[in-house]
């Protein structure tokens, strides 16, 4: 049965509390910061898509130069605060920390980054100032990580930025697409406010491309346009029963979770989640934490090919989620229009596919899970139709670019998930920086 209001207020609070609590004291941060070896040409820097000077910002914590530490982070990654909460650091900076090679715990880089950036936000330190206006105006579509990152660099350089955002809040995926125990809505709003506090960035909310504004219009009004619309549409399973009540897509499920009271969120007794990416983990854990009795993650391949990290999988397992390996959804069986069972094909591993991972091959055997809710998290699709309508050259919906960011339309640049098809927040932040650099070059400022 799908129902809401399964838990007490206290249970909801506990289940959705911060999963990575911050350092409580300066001393605690200093102990960890002092462990850092201050590597030269550090592997952690090279493993960060935004190349934050990690040893430097950690050293600055040890010298009580927290303002400098925050600046070191933000100058490379203006969403450094959010990234400290959502980055899969185990496969990025922390994953390459040299302590791993000593079989020691890596430096807790994310937690230290959070320490400095949260201090900056809490004290509203203004660490950047705008250059004198260069008279140029740029429109950005989408106030997610790529858009905000691009906007911040442009504003620093004296360009006036207007962001058109289709939602009522900024932050993009950070605000609408990530498990609530990683970032709260309040934090996301505070982060957007902090980034835009530099000035020169005007966000117009509830303005969707293709509906409220068009690319043509924007290219006429502005000196350049940066498209950072992300991805959004959940990949369909294309199996019978997909339209039954109780079949949700993870993107919109998490979106609703992030925009409603927890107690209003309906969840099934027995939930199947399709896929094993980060979004699948988020959907599975959130369903469990909303009060689902059983959550089973259904994944086509094996542990070795899984797209999520070990750390993420551990979170799901510790929440009590099960994983059904080598299983692909075949059919959703309903009763009275509602989900009753999920029939899965048993797979085996075959030859490597285009991604280099061994491909799942149907063995012909099937098995059935009794479920009342199915959450689809088998990947996200770019906004193909929108991109085509606006005349943007693309590859199955992913906007085609040169020099990382230049589209086929004059004055129009693009970056982030809408170009790469969906990567981490930190990749989008870097894309925003690359976009801004190219736009500034284009504007000749």
């Amino acid at each position: 049965m799908i129902s809401n209001n399964r838990l007490t207020e206290l249970e909801y609070q506990a289940n959705f509390a911060d999963i990575h609590p911050p350092f409580e004291t300066r001393d605690a941060a200093a102990v960890e910061a002092n462990r850092c070896l201050f590597c030269y040409d550090a592997p952690c820097i090279k493993s960060c898509p935004t190349s934050i000077n990690i040893p430097k910002f950690i050293k600055q914590i040890t010298t009580d130069n927290i303002k400098g530490s925050a600046h070191t982070i933000f100058v490379s990654n203006i969403m450094g605060a959010g990234c400290s909460k959502v980055c899969p650091v185990e496969k990025l900076c922390e994953g390459s920390c040299v302590y791993n090679l000593m079989h020691e715990e890596p430096i807790n880089i994310a937690k230290l980054q959070r320490y400095s950036t949260e201090a900056a936000m809490a004290n509203n330190w203004q660490l950047f100032s705008r250059k004198e206006s260069n008279g140029k105006k740029v429109a950005i579509i989408g106030a997610g990580p790529a858009g905000l990152s691009c906007a911040h660099v442009l504003s620093r350089e004296g360009t006036d930025v207007t962001i058109y955002e289709k939602e009522a809040l900024g932050g993009g995926l950070m605000t609408y697409g990530i498990a609530a125990y990683k970032v709260t809505p309040e934090f996301c709003k505070a982060e957007v406010d902090y980034i835009t506090s530099i000035g020169g960035i005007d966000i117009k909310y509830n303005q969707a491309l293709g509906k409220d504004v068009s690319l043509k219009q924007l290219t006429e009004q502005y000196d350049a346009v940066y498209i950072a619309i992300g991805v959004g549409e959940a990949r369909q399973l294309d199996i019978p029963g997909e339209d039954l009540a109780g079949v949700e897509d993870a993107i919109s499920y998490i979106y609703h979770l992030r925009t409603s009271d927890y107690k209003e969120m309906p969840v099934g007794d027995r939930v199947a989640v399709i896929g094993l990416g980060m979004t699948a983990i988020d959907a599975a854990t959130q369903a469990k934490r909303l009060g689902a009795k059983d959550v089973t993650i259904v994944y086509r391949r094996t542990y070795d090919e899984k797209p999520c990290t070990d750390v993420e999988l551990d979170i799901a397992k510790l929440d009590g989620c099960q994983v059904e390996w080598l299983a692909a959804p075949k059919e959703i069986i309903g009763e009275n229009g509602k989900v009753k069972q999920l029939v899965c094909s048993r797979m085996k591993l075959g030859e490597p596919d285009a991604s280099g991972r061994k491909s799942p091959v149907d063995t012909g055997e099937t098995f059935t899970l009794d479920v009342d809710m199915v959450i689809k998290a088998a990947g996200q699709m770019p906004f193909s139709e929108l991109v085509n309508t606006e005349g943007l050259k693309n590859n199955y919906g992913k906007i085609s670019v040169e020099n990382k960011t230049v589209t086929n339309i004059n004055k129009v640049f693009a970056g982030g998930d809408c170009v790469n098809g969906g990567k981490e927040v930190v990749d989008a932040v870097q894309a925003g920086k690359d976009g801004a650099a190219e736009i500034l070059k284009f504007l000749g400022v």
């Binding site: 201050f38 590597c39 550090a42 390459s96 040299v98």
Partner: protein, 422 residues
Amino acid sequence: MADLFTDFLGIKSPNPFWLASAPPTDKKINVLRAFEAGWGGVVWKTLGSQVKNVSSRYSAVDYHGSRVMGFNNIELISDRPLDINLKEIEECVKLFPDRAMVVSLMADNNRKAWHELIKKVEDRGAHGFELNFGCPHGMTERGLGAAVGQDPEITGMIVEWVMEAATIPVITKLTPNVHSVVPAGRAAVKAGTNALSLINTIQSVTGIDLDTLVPNPYVDGKSVFGGYCGPAVKPIALKMLTTIAQDPVTSRVPISGIGGVTTWKDAAEFMLLGSTSVQVCTAAMKHGFRIIEDLCEGLSNWMDEKGYRKTTDFIGKSVEKITHWEDLDINYHHVANINQDKCIHCGLCYIACEDTSHQSINLQYGKPYNTYTIKEEECVGCNLCKLICPVDNCITMVEQRVAPEYINWKEWQKQGLPLNDH
């Protein structure tokens, strides 16, 4: 098992570890706790004319997240009445007759005052005196402490006065606030002191509060120079100790080594450079008396491993190994080697060598891990990379003699051998 028993001029203690004259030894309750914990002896905090202390009294230097790398105090000699001190000394000696009880003294600068003080203290059971000619703060302004120790003539004069009256062994404690400790040491030995101890604390300013702009320690908006001690001063103490142990006059008497002794290894080093006993203060003030356990166990285990049955088997063994620069072998050469299996690719050796040394490390770029190798032909064997490397035995120095024969600088010059390697 090794025997740690120590006989210092007849002052006997079950181990060579004495608590130095300082706050931990200024009253019965502390000293009894120390003896119960296992300390071999104490030097009772300096007795002399009545003084008055201020608040606060200590400050410290922290380093890389570790507290009290160096420690600083502006406390004076004992501020308790002499009678109480003497009564408690007597009680402690009775309760622990097998421990060394040395009493530190600092009388006013006249013969009568010293004779009177010695007379008052002598028959209370103490085994020896230590003359405090080193206190660098507070007492110096009165012409005492370091003011005495900095002037060999006055040092000798007072030691003479003391030796006229004392019937138990006398140790003269030297101040490090001089360009060399040897002149005062010689003066003391010539005047008849039975032994020397060193070092006392070093005058210092440990730091400044960057909000109030007042240096530490804070006394109502002001500060004064304090006496510096703790792990930070150990290398300076060892150097001064060596000069005393090598001097033909001062080396005639036993030495009690002091200055940053924190572990049994530090103690072994002081003893290898000539100390018969070692005195500890800062480490005990940081951790309590319980550190005596590992001091004894560690030293004993090391002695067992090395085959030393008693401390006199190794005391002074390193003294002759410190020589003059011009006697070093110029043909000795070693170069660094990086064990690639142990290397964690932190790059610390590279940047240190590249920026500040001899550009002898090669960087081969990798993502995320660079590979670092030694350019042997450039390496001068300075040790910097090895010292900086965070992995034990990852960088080792491999001997590559320039030539088999020994040749020192004097001989090199005499033979007119080439000077410039570059």
